[in-house]
Amino acid sequence: MKAKNRSQISADGSAVKAESVASLRPPAQIATRARRFRLDDALPPLILTPAMIASIIFVYAFIAITIWVSLSKWGTLRMDLNLREPFGFTYQQMFAMPRWHASLRNMFVFTTLFLIGSIFFGLLLAMLLDRKLIGHSILRNVFLFPYALSFIVTGIAWRWIFNPETGINLLFDGLGINHLITSMGGPPFKPGWTTDPSVLFSINDWLGNIFPAVKDMSIQLGIPVALIPVVIAAAWQLTGFSMAMYIAGMATISPELREAARIDGANEFQIYTNVIMPLLRPVTVSTAIILGHVSLKIFDLIFAMTGSGPGFATDVPGIFVFDQTFKATKYNLGAAASVVMLFLVSLVIVPYLWSNLRKR
């Protein structure tokens, strides 16, 4: 056996070291060592295999199937997975639908207003609580509390509050606000809230001067009135999240830094604007991405609160997909809309995951 080893070594120079080390140990031990080593190497991927298979099937393969459905002829209850001609015709149809235009408009308006509101007020609350006045920990818990609730509960409560016959309008009367306005000669402030189909700040005419096609659009580009209560309800629920993110971010800023700024002559306000807020910029980015992807996907809240709304004033892609898939049973259309949703969410999330996980 030894002779055989020798001949191998002389034939293949690279095996020299491994062979000579191995030959120092009794053969039995070599075998177990080698097996243990290989087993420990193989185990980590093996343990992860079930989760990865689940992920590949239930996320990636299912997405691929949904994409296929969106390109198929399956537009009725009868399943038909043959590709529709011309290629991608369902998408073409969808992007010609006024309701889909309204959905996209509402999604962008909702996301913008909701992000501005919840991030601004989240930062404001975090900074006000940072003074750590009496009761600050109770208040912090109150502000975060809605996050623990279901969107359905939130939607039902706020639908009742924004009922134009009662709710918030009654509160305005009770607080004498309408009395004040009418006494100054103005009309009473009684918005229809979720029942109002009108669109504020329409930019169709202005945009039409640049892109003439906009003048022929069937929907008004602007802020639908009925969407405002939904934004308020969503901000009520998720402002606490951005507040918690900012509080956690502020906790990582060392007190020495604030002290140094104070010694340099900065007042409390300047410390926040010049020292703390610039350091919180990464927190803002994370919060905006997490909340942004939530608002692109928003479904439950609107489903419980307004549905697609008067004149589709509160329709969003999440509702559109649900209606087309489960009510109209136009599976290819619902699938196409969900693929667009996925695409928009991926635009936000993939770079975020990339930058977050690459650092490790």
């Binding site: 991927p45 949904t66 009742w160 009654l170 479904f299 619902g334």
Partner: protein, 288 residues
């Protein structure tokens, strides 16, 4: 969440308002508190009223006399669905937490070529709009005869809850020093024994965080519940509550009482275990 309240240097005197600014801050915070509690007030007060007293014009008033109000009927209607939600949320939470902890342990402590890429692939699954997998998911559940059943919905919540629980555990295990792993390896323990004897006992705080986070998510889910369980008697409480609010034969006091009842379990979890809840939601923002 270490705040000044926990520090020995914190005194009540520091917390008292000292100047005009402090009073202004307090006033603004109290204003926000009223706004944040308003829907809770509306739900509880309306729920406590009797049907005949729920008139539109007195919505903001307190109830005239104390009685069960809408709570009795809301409880009777939602009780079976509360049971469904519990039967759903508890097993799904436990399974996804245990499975996630094993994944998180390997991702954090047994990195191999490409493991970070696999992790990214897995975690992406928690961000997707679930609408984009619903059609094949329902077909699949029908194929394996789990469509319309609670075990089917448990499976779904385990599978789609796995990314976030793996993520939270990975972030937790990443902060456990490698020396501990080395020591256990020198003692002759392999990857599995190190998990069962060293890492698993150490990860109880993470189990609490993931448990609370998953329980809340699953309890509050609506989309999966409404699409996978068409049978009303099997539906979770969020779906039943939405049906309750959509039917014209039900009075508002019952709907509001129902909303309170449906919200109560997660609200209690939040009130008593809020600390862990905050940790979970921060860890869920990927970096942890």
């Amino acid at each position: 969440m270490s705040t000044a309240t926990a520090s020995p240097f914190y005194s009540i005197r520091q917390a008292l308002p000292k100047n005009l600014w402090d009073y202004l801050i307090l006033a603004v915070l109290l204003g926000f508190m009223l706004f944040f509690l308003m829907p809770v007030y509306v739900m509880v007060v309306t729920g406590l009223k009797e049907a005949r007293n729920v008139s539109l014009s007195t919505m903001w008033n307190l109830p005239q006399q104390l009685s069960g109000g809408g709570f009795v009927e809301a409880w009777n209607r939602l009780e079976p669905n509360l049971g469904n939600s519990l039967m759903l949320a508890i097993p799904a939470t436990i399974i996804s937490a245990v499975w996630g902890s094993i994944n998180g342990y390997v991702f954090a402590k047994w990195k191999f070529r490409g493991s970070n890429l696999l992790f990214a692939l897995l975690v992406f699954g928690m961000f997707i709009p679930y609408q984009s997998i619903l059609i094949p998911l329902i077909q699949f559940l029908q194929l394996v005869k789990l469509y319309g059943t609670i075990p089917g919905l448990i499976t779904v919540h385990v599978l789609y809850g796995l990314p976030i629980s793996s993520l939270i555990f990975r972030n937790y295990f990443a902060n456990i020093p490698d020396e501990l792993l080395e020591a256990s390896r020198i003692d002759g323990a392999g990857i599995i024994r190190t998990y069962t004897h060293v890492m698993f006992p150490l990860s109880m705080p993470a189990f609490v965080v993931v448990g609370i986070f998953q329980f809340t998510n699953i309890w509050n889910d609506f989309l999966f519940g409404v699409t996978i369980l068409p049978n009303p008697s099997a539906q979770p409480v969020t779906v039943a509550l939405n049906n309750l609010s959509g039917s014209f034969s039900v009075d508002w006091n019952v709907v509001m009482a129902g909303a309170v009842v449906a919200a109560l379990p997660t609200a209690l979890v939040y009130i008593f275990l809020g600390r862990f809840f905050v940790r979970g939601l921060l860890a869920g923002s990927v970096k942890g």
